[in-house]
């Protein structure tokens, strides 16, 4: 019974969460806290904060952890699969269908028209990341780091993973000053 409820809860989250993981957070809250009452509001907030402090997609981290808490390892697998399998299946079917018509002119036209739209989405996302970085790091540091990242990755051709790895290590090993003001979002 628990397993079925877990499946339903995260199936709904997966199918209704448009716009990627972060947009599904309120849906998870609705199912897990309001509907099934597996967690209190505070516990949910803690899990979310923790999930945000780890790498990787947020929706599956939440599903996995909550599933594990409610119904052990089986619950974990169940919740993760319910979140991702339906949408992956739709994606594979649709794209495979579309690419089998690739040489038709109208499919070609669809492909061309959608590229700039995705470009706009990425540009907006870029702006978002800048603004959030600036809120926490300030203009000067943000601009310097943007410039350095650009030169190192795009001109010198260093793997971005290496750049990010070094930055993460630096944040971890830097001697911490007490009372650094804390940003609230992530």
């Amino acid at each position: 019974m628990k397993q079925w409820q877990l499946f339903l809860a995260f199936f709904r989250v997966g199918m209704l969460g448009y716009g990627g993981g972060p947009s599904s957070i309120p849906l998870v809250h609705k199912e897990v806290v309001e509907k099934y009452k597996w967690l209190s509001d505070d516990e949910f907030a803690d899990i979310l904060a923790l999930g945000n402090s780890l790498p990787g997609p947020i929706a599956t981290k939440m599903a996995g952890y909550i599933g594990h808490r409610v119904a052990g390892i089986t619950g974990m697998m169940n919740a993760v699969l319910a979140t991702i399998v339906p949408t992956i299946t739709i994606m594979i079917v649709l794209l495979t269908f579309l690419s089998s018509f690739r040489d038709k002119a109208w499919v070609e036209g669809m492909t061309q028209a959608v590229v700039p739209v995705v470009g706009v989405m990425l540009a907006v996302l870029t702006y978002d990341f800048f603004r959030k970085a600036q809120g926490k790091l300030g203009w000067v540091l943000t601009l310097v780091m943007t410039f350095v990242s650009f030169v190192v990755i795009e001109i010198a051709g260093v793997h971005p993973g290496l750049v990010i790895g070094v930055l993460l290590l630096y944040a971890l090993l830097k001697p911490s000053k007490k009372d650094e003001e804390g940003g609230d979002e992530s």
């Binding site: 997966g14 199918m15 990627g20 993981g21 972060p22 923790l50 999930g51 945000n52 402090s53 780890l54 790498p55 990787g56 997609p57 947020i58 599956t60 981290k61 996995g64 594990h68 991702i84 949408t87 992956i88 794209l95 579309l98 002119a105 109208w106 070609e108 036209g109 669809m110 061309q112 028209a113 959608v114 590229v115 700039p116 739209v117 995705v118 470009g119 706009v120 996302l125 870029t126 990341f129 800048f130 926490k136 790091l137 943000t142 943007t146 990242s149 650009f150 990755i153 795009e154 990010i164 790895g165 930055l167 944040a171 971890l172 830097k174 911490s176 650094e180 804390g182 940003g183 992530s186």
Partner: protein, 176 residues
């Protein structure tokens, strides 16, 4: 060994993508288009459009589809596993330790410090998409589509899924 390559291509974005799915988009692009050459920029943007128009987490949809394309059902499984498992295992296993650090300034600094780098990766990708659209659809169509989708999504707050579907129809009719 294709399964190993799929694993690597999604393990790296999964473990470095702080800040949820969207932060891992440029990292996936770097592996899939840049390193392994499985897709062109255009194919990647097409897939991203489709992924954005469909519900559910973005990182796992990309991993599932690309994995499937390169290595069938097992490939899809490997891609999704590499994206999800490392961070999920960390979360379940290290929970009690991490509980103490969730408000730590270090953890917050980690998320903040990589933002400019992710921003530049996203910005470069946006530029590539615009450039490829300019080559394919021409200057006027590109400008029109950029302006229209920006106004619809950012000013009028139309849901991106509808804008993407609209652009697909527009393309099928006017650019076909």
């Amino acid at each position: 060994m294709i399964y190993w390559e799929i694993f690597v291509a999604f393990f790296i974005p999964g473990i470095l993508g702080y800040g949820g799915g969207p932060a891992s988009i440029p990292l996936v692009e770097n592996e899939v288009v840049g390193r392994f050459g499985w897709m062109s920029v255009n194919e990647f943007s097409e897939m991203l459009a489709m992924a954005n128009a469909l519900p559910g987490p973005i990182a796992t949809k990309m991993a599932g589809y690309i994995g499937f394309q390169q290595g069938g059902v097992l490939g899809a499984f490997v891609g999704v596993f590499a994206t999800v498992a490392p961070s999920l295992i960390l979360m379940v296993v290290l929970l009690s330790i991490l509980y103490k650090f969730k408000d730590s300034p270090k953890v917050k600094l980690m998320t903040a410090l990589i933002r400019p780098t992710i921003a530049i990766l996203l910005g470069v990708m946006a530029f590539q998409f615009f450039a490829s659209s300019y080559e394919g659809a021409g200057f006027l169509q590109t400008i029109f589509l950029i302006a229209a989708s920006f106004i619809l999504m950012e000013r009028m707050k139309v849901h991106p899924a509808f804008v993407i579907v609209g652009s697909l129809v527009y393309g099928a009719v006017f650019l076909g």
